[in-house]
């Protein structure tokens, strides 16, 4: 067992919660402090664009662990506490109020923040971003049936909000800059499936839309969005969902190696061996695709939060797992298993028409990723078979009467 006496965690989200859980579970008995600038105990973000935004999920159900967990396990939680500096020589972090915490090991679990649009009118009333409970509180109040919301960005957050708003009776327009929805994560076939689904539900989807400015009324409230082709969209509410940036500024200022994310090794260790990073803020070398990746997913925060804790205790990391991610829109459950980067062919399993199908991504004949839609069987099987250098037999793959594991 390690000789650590004081572990400090900066950030109080999914990765932080997982790290404190693992530390105590594995018998770490020393001081454990969690510093978070949000006023809430660590909570799940996925419902923020789904059930919680829809109003069908109570607030206390968002918490990853109830308050009693932290006191029972002697975790000193400071909420509303923003860390502003890391002093690596003194092994101390300091907060906005000037107070300091000593550490033997430090975990940066600071997450990411929405990328802001720097266009005219982006600060008008009625323009929203979505990351925190506070954001939902502001946005949720505005979601009155019949009002018009324009969503900038056709990624999964924008589309989940589109689905939720449509179900709440708003008029919804989605403006996407590229030529298709969710273009960074799924293949064109899935993009068009989702485009059709949203259109069928009455969402107005506009691709290749380059937003130029937001116009307001005389009260400083949003009224419309203008695109560079001259088109104008009337809006009572605007939601901007154009990706996220890692919260790595503390690490950059402290001189840790960063490159759009805090660089970590397989043990989640940064370039300073006493400092670890996990979750949305961390950039790691993927054993699957070779390059550096920064993943924004609950699964990744969970795995890295666990691994950082294990490494602090001198234990070996978990077996590298295949990353996965989910998105819920209407009654469609999309699960993405693996990283499809560099795929050279896709094979469809099942028919989109049945609203339950999968797409297999292959590179040099190996199954590197799979997207499943309402297909629990394939998704669980995929989590075991994807990224293991398995070479499926293509015509078997397309035959849905065969379980996935019998396609090799």
């Amino acid at each position: 067992m390690s000789t650590l006496r004081q572990i400090v965690i900066v950030g109080g989200g999914q990765a932080a919660a997982q790290a404190v859980d693992t530390l105590r579970r594995r018998g770490y008995d020393g001081g454990l402090t969690l510093l978070s600038d949000e006023p809430h105990l660590p909570y799940q973000r996925p419902p923020l664009s789904k059930k919680f935004l829809a109003g069908s999920f109570e607030r206390d159900r968002l918490l990853i662990r109830h308050a009693g967990f932290y006191s029972e396990h002697r975790i000193d939680v400071r909420l509303g506490y923003r860390v502003v500096q890391i002093d690596r020589d003194q092994m101390q972090v300091s907060g906005a109020d000037g107070s300091k915490y000593d550490y033997d090991a430090l975990l940066l679990a600071t997450g990411s923040r929405p990328r802001r649009l720097s266009i005219e009118g982006a600060d008008l009333q009625g323009v929203h971003y979505l990351r925190t409970i506070a954001d939902v509180d502001r946005l949720g109040r505005e979601l009155v049936p019949g009002r018009r919301i324009v969503i900038v960005g056709g990624g999964y957050i924008g589309l989940e909000v589109a689905a939720t708003c449509r179900e709440r009776g708003l008029e919804v327009t989605v403006l996407e800059m590229s030529d298709r929805l969710m273009n960074r994560v799924v293949c064109p076939e899935i993009s068009s499936f989702y485009e059709e689904e949203h259109a069928r539900r009455g969402v107005d989807i506009v691709c290749r839309a380059s937003v130029q400015g937001i116009h307001g009324d005389e009260h400083g409230r949003v009224r419309s969005i203008i695109c560079s082709d001259g088109n104008q969209y009337i809006a009572d509410i605007v939601l901007i969902g154009v990706g996220a940036l890692p919260n790595d500024d503390l690490a950059v200022a402290a001189g840790l190696d960063c490159a759009n994310g805090i660089m970590v090794d397989a043990h989640c260790r940064t370039s300073d061996p006493r400092i670890y990073a996990a979750g949305d803020c961390a950039l790691h070398r993927s054993h699957q695709c070779g390059g550096s990746v920064r993943l924004e997913s609950v699964d990744n925060a969970f795995e890295q939060g666990t691994n950082a804790a294990l490494a602090m205790l001198g234990e070996s990391p978990r077996m590298p797992a295949i990353p996965w991610f989910w998105s819920d829109q209407y009654d469609l459950k999309l699960i993405i298993v693996g990283l499809s980067t560099g795929y050279d062919r896709t094979v469809l399993r099942g028919r989109p028409f049945d609203r339950s199908f999968s797409v297999c991504y292959l590179r040099d004949g190996e199954l590197i990723a799979m997207d499943t839609i309402n297909n629990a069987k394939d998704q669980m099987a995929a989590r075991k078979l994807v990224g293991q250098r398995n070479r499926p037999i293509l015509d078997r793959l397309a035959d849905t009467s065969r379980p996935l594991r019998d396609c090799f």
């Binding site: 996925p46 109830h66 609950v298 459950k333 629990a376 069987k377 998704q379 669980m380 989590r383």
Partner: protein, 96 residues
Amino acid sequence: MQGNEHRVDGLAGRKLMEALREFDFGVAAICGGMCSCATCHVYIDPEWLSRLQPAEPAERDLLAELRHARPNSRLSCQIDLTDALNDLALTIAPEE
């Protein structure tokens, strides 16, 4: 925690997974109850099994692919707690 037997009490109206999360080191429940991750997998005491609402197809499909699945496997996020289930006995399944 995993492998020990538990009895679940109170929290009617919530999901069984949420009650288990309240235990000291309860289920991981990574997906938060979306029937996606199977990290809330439990073995229900056979005496209790028939008193639960049967699993929906999505849950059954997921369970069917699990290495540690047994005839009394359930995903605890898919089970609604009611007063009739006070004292429900179960064991948390090992991680996949």
